[in-house]
């Protein structure tokens, strides 16, 4: 290793990029290059229009050869964008790729300043810091870590299903973990999908069956991820498998046990029908459930609660002996290389806006409740009826319930406009009722969606632009008697209107899952302030997270419709496959390391490592760092009270000379 170059040997090439007008429009790049020329060790100092272009990189490679350069500094954009590019160029020029330092004078300078002279001074300071720093750079090598080829997919909604199938069809082994007793997620509850009005079940059920049939997929429903250890390529995941008190291997889904249950009628709210129907303590979530396995609700089952039941279900299952009241929760440990998180969303609780009367007036329903009413497999067999059994003559939709509202959720839930118009058309079709849609803006940007809006208008659906103020049952006129009255300002007409209707549908928005923070910590992901999982880059890495080997798909990243969810799921599967098929990942060498003879074994660092990369060697009583686990965050380096932990690429001499460079006034 060429670490012991003396200062006399240092030959630095400095390059400043105009980035077209991005940098050159604010910073005087030529002046910066000129300023840097005079610094010790600088042999070449140039400005160039686009350093990241091929000719720009060629410039570096040529200069290394012609001027025997051994250190390179490029002042341009964010290292996130092009550090890789320039390190490759440096390597192609015959140098160690870490004899390079990048300066961000775009995001840190030209994009955030308007005073050209001061921005130029700042660029000089930043460049000088990098030039002083790069003198101390050591040659470093990247390391390779093998990738375990199996993948964990968390969440069995349409996103998780699609990601799992994509991977499994490519021959990868997939664990699909779902916390409910069946996969299918929200989509399984839908009747039709917009804007094509094709049957949701017809397109989802085959995919669910394919999951069951695929040999490469290990499906674990009624299970939750409890613990995640390790790092990209080598995750160890503990999965909690809740007891369903029915042996999954033995149950064939004949449902005779349900028939035989001592409860003759359903008594408890059916989760799948969002409480619109009742189920027994022993049940199957819905007819197309995958797996087709019965589940027993321990909170409701007499046997499990009191131990005193005739156990007619066991009798009914006599031949198979599938019912097993002794089942216990199990912890299963699996090894995977990549994880796809597709944990979805939850619906906004309409009770949080009491003015809309949900929970107070029986005929105020949410969009998902109407969805169940409209479905032929739903509690009413597809009939839209009110709580008193009548068919509504007039129905109103209230959009943006819990969305685009600073007091609840600020974001647009993206799907409610289209979802509501779809339901509005179905209501017209099923009942012929008058339908009024109260909206703020109709957002129909998807393919075929504006056309669907047009169709809704032509179908005679009334649209009123205005946020609904309240839903009341007090009448001012005879025609309002006995009806629900919507009060809203019609902002197009400029008047406050009272509109009496029979039934009101609240288009509730999407929210992060209630436990999204816990899930985020589990997988070491970030959340935006709203609680949606944060992608690594909104444009360039939309399904990656800041933790390598953990990808996100579907609505856990933000509200989206089915096509978008599936597109993301496919992308996440492809990203995981790209890693698996390469077989290894290269690790940045910017890791921390303990200088063993300096360490006093004080253990201050041990609990600080967020990646649990530090351990105490039992025999030497010194700390050691597992380079494969270290992410180079520097926490331990800063905290080590005796200065015995150092970090590659962030050595003291490198940092101090950088500081000196910034602080030195030209």
């Amino acid at each position: 290793m060429k670490t012991n170059l003396t200062n006399g040997d240092i030959r630095i090439g400095f390059y400043i990029c105009h980035c077209g007008h991005n940098i050159g429009g604010v910073v005087d790049c030529t002046a910066v290059a000129h300023e840097i020329t005079g610094l010790p060790g600088v042999v070449v100092s140039r400005d160039y229009k686009y350093m990241c272009s091929d000719p720009g990189q060629e410039l570096i490679r040529n200069d290394i050869r012609e001027h025997a350069l051994n250190r390179i500094v490029v002042a341009s954009c964010s290292p996130l964008l092009h550090e890789h590019t320039f390190r490759n160029a440096v390597e192609a020029g015959g140098l160690n790729r870490y004899f390079f330092q990048m300066v961000n004078i775009r995001e840190h300078d030209s994009w955030v300043h308007t005073d050209h002279a001061k921005a130029t001074t700042k660029a000089v300071a930043l460049a000088r810091a990098a030039v002083l720093r790069v003198r101390f750079h050591r040659a470093l090598e990247t390391t390779r870590v093998a990738i375990h080829p199996d993948v964990l997919v968390v969440g069995g909604g349409i996103s998780g299903i699609h990601a799992a199938l994509t991977l499994a069809n490519a021959g990868k082994k997939v664990y699909l973990v779902e916390r409910d007793p069946s996969i299918g997620g929200h989509m399984a509850k839908f009747d039709k999908t917009f804007p094509t009005l094709d049957c949701a079940a017809c397109i989802l059920t085959p995919k669910m069956s394919a999951v069951r049939a695929n040999k490469n997929i290990k499906l674990w429903t009624y299970s939750e991820v409890a613990k995640v250890d390790g790092y990209v390529g080598n995750y160890t995941v503990t999965v909690r498998r809740k007891p369903r008190y029915v042996n999954e291997e033995l149950c064939i889904g004949c449902q005779e046990c349900i028939e035989a249950c001592v409860f003759k009628e359903g008594k408890y709210p059916d989760e799948f029908n969002v409480g619109l129907s009742k189920r027994k303590p022993i049940y199957i979530p819905f007819p197309q459930a995958v797996p087709q396995v019965v589940v027993i609700d321990p909170e409701r089952c007499l046997q499990l609660k009191s131990g005193r039941c005739k156990k007619t279900c066991v009798e009914a299952c006599a031949d198979r002996q599938a019912i097993d009241f002794t089942q216990k929760e199990e912890m299963a440990e699996i090894k995977v290389g990549n994880i796809i998180v597709a944990t979805g969303f939850k619906l906004f609780d309409a009770k949080r806006i009491p003015q809309y009367g949900y929970g107070l007036y029986p005929n105020v329903v949410t969009s998902i409740e109407l969805e169940r009413l409209v479905t032929s497999s739903g509690p009413t067999g597809g009939e839209i009826i009110m709580r008193d059994g009548r068919t509504p003559q007039s129905v109103a939709f209230v959009l943006c319930v819990g969305s685009r509202d600073f007091r609840t959720n600020r974001w647009c839930s993206r799907t409610c406009c289209m979802h509501s118009m779809k339901l509005a058309q179905l209501v017209r079709e099923h009942t012929g009722a008058d339908v009024t849609v109260f909206y703020l803006d109709i957002r129909a940007p998807g393919k075929g969606c504006e056309e669907f809006y047009d169709k809704s208008l032509k179908d005679g659906i009334q649209f009123v632009r205005g946020r609904v103020a309240e839903v009341t049952d007090w009448a001012l006129t005879p025609e309002e008697e006995g009806k629900l009255v919507i009060r809203a300002e019609d902002t197009l007409a400029g008047v406050v209107r009272r509109i009496p209707v029979d039934m009101i549908v609240l288009a509730v928005g999407m929210e992060p899952q209630a436990d999204s923070q816990a899930v985020r910590r589990l997988f070491n992901m970030s959340c935006g302030s709203e609680g949606w999982f944060l992608e690594k880059h909104p444009k360039l890495a939309p399904v990656s997270t800041f933790t390598d080997g953990v990808f996100i798909a579907g609505c856990c990243q933000g509200p989206k419709d089915i096509p978008d969810s599936i597109a993301q799921a496919g992308a996440a599967a492809a990203e995981a496959m790209a890693l698996i098929d390469r077989g290894y990942i290269e690790q940045e060498p910017n890791t921390a390391y303990v200088v063993e003879e300096d360490c006093s074994g004080c253990k201050s660092c041990l609990p600080l490592c967020p990646y649990t990369a530090i351990t105490l060697d039992g025999t030497t009583q010194k700390a050691t760092i597992n380079a494969a686990l270290c992410k180079g965050c520097g926490t331990c380096v800063a905290a080590c009270p005796s200065g015995s932990i150092r970090q590659h690429l962030f050595e003291d001499d490198e940092i101090f000379s950088e500081i000196e460079g910034v602080l030195t006034h030209a």
């Binding site: 006093s600 004080c602 609990p607 105490l616 905290a639 009270p641 005796s642 200065g643």
Partner: protein, 330 residues
């Protein structure tokens, strides 16, 4: 051949380092076998003129203790530097500024005002400041001038070796002298003590848990300390992890926490900052209120973490610049 000539001198110090030399007890005879003490004002009758008379470099070594606070101390440090082949910063004050260095929290004016005008112990008639120049019995008298800031010895003159400690232990002093007189002395600039932190030699090391997670901090007088268990684990601020070893963990042996007198290891620029960052990183609370509550258990953070090395801290930049400017203006 005559024996090497040695000088002892003290500047801003408490006198403990002088005692430490005396603490060599009968071993001092061995020292006297090896060297001649030619200057030791605190113990014997010497005059400054005895030193000025010597040719430059005539002294083999000077062991200087105490920080540099006054013009007189600076003058003596420069004189002894000139006359000595080896200048040794002896003790915490000379090495890092020591306890007197804590005065750098205040400006010279604040100090003088308090000491001569505001201290509650002063009588009404005592409230006057001494003048730098005065006349008595027909003689012009001149007092040394206080500098703006306290400095470590190496902030005034180049130092060859450092013997840390408040005070250095007899063993360390003996070893240091032996090393100097040996045929193969350590490279100049060395600290003549181990470069690992105190925990390495602490008898309680094995009782330190791997996750301290401080719920709060206690002062030694507030609790009954377990004499076997790591003091940090008992919630007492022990500076051991951020302090150079070599003392033999004397304080810890006496059931008191390390206060940091050996200074930081060679790899640390700012002992207090390092201690703080390691301690704070291990506070159990994660919210601001909880963290503040825990830190309230340390009533004097500066005096706790910077007890011996404030003049060497990066926190000192402004004051020492002012002091430098003042020195120049003298």
């Amino acid at each position: 051949m005559s024996k090497p000539k040695i000088a002892f001198y003290w500047c801003a110090a408490c006198g403990g380092c002088e005692e430490a030399v005396v603490d060599l007890a009968e071993d001092i005879l061995g020292v006297l076998d090896a060297v001649d003490i030619v200057f030791w004002p605190v113990a014997m009758d010497f005059k400054k003129s005895d030193i000025t008379a010597l040719p430059d470099g005539a002294l083999f070594a000077t062991l200087l203790n105490g920080a540099i606070r006054s013009s007189e101390q600076e003058e003596m440090a420069q004189l002894l530097r000139r006359k000595s082949q080896h200048l040794i910063a002896y003790g915490a004050c000379a090495c890092h500024g020591g306890v007197p260095g804590l005065a750098n929290q205040f400006s010279r004016e604040q100090l003088l005002r308090f000491v001569y005008e505001e201290a509650p112990t002063l009588g009404e008639d005592g409230r006057s400041r001494p003048q730098l120049e005065s006349e008595a019995n027909g003689h012009e008298l001149e007092l040394p001038r206080l500098h703006q800031a306290v400095r470590a010895l190496d902030q005034v003159v180049p130092v060859d070796y450092y013997v840390p400690g408040c005070p250095p232990t007899p063993k360390l002093t003996q070893e240091a002298l032996a090393m100097l007189l040996s045929s193969n002395p350590p490279p100049r600039g060395s600290v003549l003590a181990p470069d690992t932190a105190l925990c390495d030699e602490c008898p309680r090391k094995s009782s330190k848990p791997s996750d301290l997670s401080f719920a709060g901090f206690r002062r030694p007088h507030e609790i009954l300390l377990d004499p076997e268990k790591c003091l940090l684990a008992q919630g007492v601020v022990c500076c051991g992890p951020g302090t150079r070893g070599g003392c033999g963990a004397l304080c810890v042996g006496g059931n008191m926490p390390c206060s940091g007198c050996f200074g930081p290891t060679s790899r640390v620029r700012d002992q207090g900052a390092k201690l703080l960052s390691s301690l704070c990183a291990n506070i159990a609370a994660k919210d601001e209120a909880g963290i503040n509550l825990a830190l309230d258990g340390i009533p004097d953070p500066l005096g706790t973490f910077y007890r011996y090395a404030l003049p060497h801290s990066i926190l000192q930049r402004n004051v020492s610049q002012a002091a430098r400017a003042e020195t120049l203006s003298l």
